[in-house]
Symmetry: C2
Subunit: 292 residues, 2 copies
């Protein structure tokens, strides 16, 4: 696979790292960056993330062989609408969105008859940092990349993306957009909401200053994801809210079990639950839950 | 301050690190270790954490100038009962327990008229590792140490411990046992319960294997504290359950706010909550909430 001309719309952590990884793997020629923040685009130019800046997504996409959309998901429909008229036959459009059902719906609405050119994807490489300054060619190495193709996709386009992401060092999996949103609702969106909720809870208390003053390393790691991009996580949570609400309910049920054990002073049941959780986490860290 | 003879009861991560820090700071002579696990005590001897092993806490304490109790908190009363008869006048007993009201109650019950010799303390240096093998002289450097003295304590004993912990590089604070349990219920015990609850929730689902298979770095950090010692955390949660139940309720109220925003599709309110949480966390990381 080789893409002579690439357009990256949204040159943040993910879009910028995608461009750098393409360049490092020598899978592309010229990379044009499109984005809202002039300072960020200048930084991306300085760092060699992109080769040119183009204010208009449609013009950037005009002769592109590959279009990577890595803006906040709420902007996808308007981005795809602007690139549709100019999009070449044979060009592949793919994305870095953290939710997939809404992205597919936006793409269908925007691309119409060109929907087969859009292959949805999600690199599992979040970080609380953002912007082109945080981009790195190695961001995806050893990380998962989920391809969530739709019925209209051409299998050779899907395979081109498998080859591309494999070249980046990512571990590529495939699932439907629906499966994707269920899985990530539970293991990603739910923990983000819980971390934001805890920090918001503590910050809203009258003795917040004292409480934060004594928070330690456990609190720091637990809440790391509460430093994630609020706009991005707003979009993710809204897009996946049906699944996320189910996940919050399951979590709340589990927490209610612990509350009952505490109320009953049932030390043995608490220890058993904590032990099972610890063992499950150890098995996970040991790779015993890895698929394929 | 110098303690010619020291007894460490419970030579795990905290007890072992206390012994190593004492030695590195040249604040002690001979250190005797007491514990349940023979293999762990042998390892502690081999690593130079302790100089001798004594199976009986009472005999170890007999000529000690300083007794450090770092067993699980549920064992404190029996440990203190065994050391009481032999405890020298002028010797200081202190501890590494993560809760303080229950520790003070156990100490009062066990030590009776010698209660003034017990100065409660809590080093904020948890780690999911445990055992003498994980002990290190630098564990407390830059970390907080909370002294939670009681009315009966002699101020010169409290000051001796301030000097000792300051020599270890810890940042020493003072609060009452009640204040201690309120503060750590919110910033430590609550996040531990939430992390255990999330892992337990996911592990109990029919598709647990697939879910763990896609869990990433955010999940790993969020749940790091769910790898903490189940017996220790059982004791902490039971000992502080009145405060912890209040904290769970406050957290659940905050989570319910987010649920309502999701149900209403209120993207602006969600983003505002996430932004406030992120800013509060950034201020915390920048040290803006530090007391003194």
């Amino acid at each position: 696979v080789f893409f002579p001309k690439v357009a990256v719309v949204g040159v943040g952590l993910i879009g910028g790292s995608f461009a750098l990884a393409l360049k490092q793997a020598k899978l592309c020629g010229h990379v044009v960056g499109v984005g809202r923040g002039a300072a960020n685009l200048m930084l991306a130019m300085e760092r060699g993330v992109i080769d040119a800046v183009e204010p208009d997504a449609g013009r950037a996409a005009a002769d592109a062989d590959l279009v990577y959309v890595a803006t906040p998901v709420s902007h996808f429909e308007s981005v795809l609408l602007s690139i549709k008229p100019a999009l070449k036959a044979g060009a592949i459009v793919t994305d870095g969105g953290s939710t997939k059902r809404d992205v597919v719906a936006a793409a269908r609405a925007a691309l119409g008859a060109k929907i087969h050119q859009f292959v949805p994807a999600h690199p599992i490489a979040g970080a609380e940092k953002s912007g082109a300054g945080a981009a790195s060619a190695g961001l995806f190495r050893g990380k998962r990349l989920v391809l969530a193709p739709i019925a209209e996709n051409d299998e050779k386009d899907v395979q081109a993306l498998v080859a591309l992401w494999t070249a980046f060092g990512a571990r590529v999996s495939r699932m439907t957009p629906e499966e994707h949103d269920s899985v990530f609702g539970a293991v990603s969106h739910l923990p983000h909401v819980l971390a934001y909720a805890l920090v918001s809870d503590i910050a809203g208390r009258p003795d917040a200053a004292r409480l934060f003053g004594y928070a330690g390393a456990g609190f720091r790691d637990f809440t790391r994801i509460a430093s994630s991009h609020p706009e991005m996580w707003r979009d993710i949570c809204i897009a996946n809210r049906d699944r996320l609400l189910q996940d919050i309910e399951k979590f709340t049920d589990e927490l209610a079990k612990i509350e009952k054990m505490l109320q009953a002073g049932d030390a043995a049941a608490l220890e058993a639950l904590f032990s099972r959780a610890r063992s499950a986490r150890e098995r996970w860290l040991n790779g015993e839950y890895e698929e394929k």
